[in-house]
């Protein structure tokens, strides 16, 4: 097993090095995609399948689209003006190496029986009715963090939307390329049915096994992006009330249940014991849709078409 881990680490380091030294941006992005997918394997070996799922969905899917779109938008614009000199690059390399070395040193000097709350969390697990300790931490023990995290995603989306020019405010983003190649249109029809099933499965299995809202939301977002990019269904106007309802629905339901905790349980964000699991599942379902819509609209970018009146 040690041999396997060494091989995996060597391959990861090699890919990481290639990402940095690759002169062509597009090749670097592709290598970065491969790196993200392979990093999922490393997380599985570290017995963290929840992180592995997130890493593959974000690092291999959504980030790839974001980077490739950014590269396509910037291509051929002021590439000659290379701002970084050799000394500048060396300084950046030295700084990054120092951070890596510092992090490595910090990890190696952890106290050996690491201070952990894991036994306490595992002990309280039956009270939530969940089987997956990660979901229990995210939605019961540390629910406040999760709530704020989802609100931050919405704030980021508002930030992206505000980049739209005044005349286009409230319009739809434009994702479809000028000409959709045949294979993309075909993939746009074939892949989403599988992806949606996998996304719903990720959400459902998240209560008892690795998976959960964020992974499921990312899968659904990727499938929606695929449909929009293949031109099968146009992106919605950003003023559409249905879109905004889905976006805000997850955090609103979360907050409503959190405040109801004052009346029916011990306080803010506390669940009545008998209803803990159904409530958590309801929050997760609404959050999954919110995350999916928010991530897809974040990648789609600000409005580029005037709103339909």
């Amino acid at each position: 097993m040690a041999l396997f881990d060494l091989a995996l680490v060597a391959l990861l380091l090699m890919l990481a090095l290639r990402v940095v030294v690759e002169p062509d941006e597009r090749s670097a992005i592709i290598t970065f995609l491969a790196f993200g997918l392979l990093l999922g394997l490393a997380w599985v070996r570290l017995a963290a399948p929840d992180v592995a799922l997130t890493e593959i969905a974000i690092g291999g899917g959504v980030t790839g689209i974001l980077l490739l779109r950014a590269e396509a938008a910037l291509r051929g614009r002021g590439k000659q003006a290379e701002p970084a000199t050799r000394t500048g690059k060396l300084a950046v390399a030295a700084g990054s190496a120092a951070i890596s070395a510092g992090l490595g040193f910090a990890v190696l000097t952890f106290s050996t029986p690491a201070p952990t709350l894991a036994p306490a969390a595992a002990q309280a697990l039956p009270a939530t009715g969940l089987g997956n300790p990660v979901t229990a931490v995210l939605l019961a023990f540390r629910a406040l963090d999760t709530l704020l995290e989802k609100v931050v995603v919405l704030l980021a989306l508002i930030g992206v939307w505000s980049l739209a020019p005044d005349a286009l405010w409230g319009g739809a983003p434009d994702l479809k390329p000028a000409a959709v190649p045949g294979p993309l249109a075909y993939l746009g029809r074939v892949l989403p049915p599988f992806g949606v099933v996998i996304g719903v499965y990720m959400f459902w299995v998240g209560a008892d096994a690795p998976g959960g809202t964020f992974q499921a939301g990312t899968v659904l977002a990727a499938m929606w992006l695929l449909v929009m990019m293949a031109g099968l269904h146009p992106p919605p106007d950003t003023t559409r009330w249905l879109l905004r309802l889905v976006l805000a629905g997850g955090p609103i339901l979360f907050l409503a249940i959190a405040f109801l905790g004052f009346a029916f349980a011990d306080g803010f964000l506390a669940y009545p014991k008998a209803l803990a699991k159904p409530l958590i599942l309801a929050i997760e379902a609404a959050l999954t849709l919110s995350v999916a819509a928010a991530l897809a609209m974040l990648v789609a970018g600000p409005a580029r078409k005037a709103p339909a009146r």
Partner: protein
């Protein structure tokens, strides 16, 4: 049995790694994209073998997602190329 499965996983990882580095050296970008597809297949095989060796069912879920997103990354790549064509014909999709 677990030892055999782990050895098989190591073998597939090694073969995938060699093929990956060879494909990534190609000058054609579309061929490099095939490296990601290769990782989708090889990585899923490694994950399934590891999952069987350690008896964790979650590894097969990860393999499922890996396959899905390897296919999806192809779309991201095609879109990047399409953006390039659009730049040449019109003033581009992003004004």
């Amino acid at each position: 049995m677990a030892d055999f499965l782990t050895t098989a996983a190591l073998f597939i990882l090694a073969v995938t790694a060699i093929a990956l580095l060879r494909v990534l050296r190609s000058r054609i970008t579309a061929e490099r994209m095939m490296a990601v597809q290769l990782l989708g297949t090889g990585g899923a095989a490694v994950l399934l073998l590891l999952g069987a060796a350690s008896g964790s069912a979650a590894a097969s879920d990860v393999a499922l997602l890996l396959t899905l997103f390897a296919a999806f990354s192809c779309v991201a790549f095609v879109l990047g190329s399409a953006g390039q064509d659009a730049d040449r014909t019109s003033s581009g999709e992003q004004p």
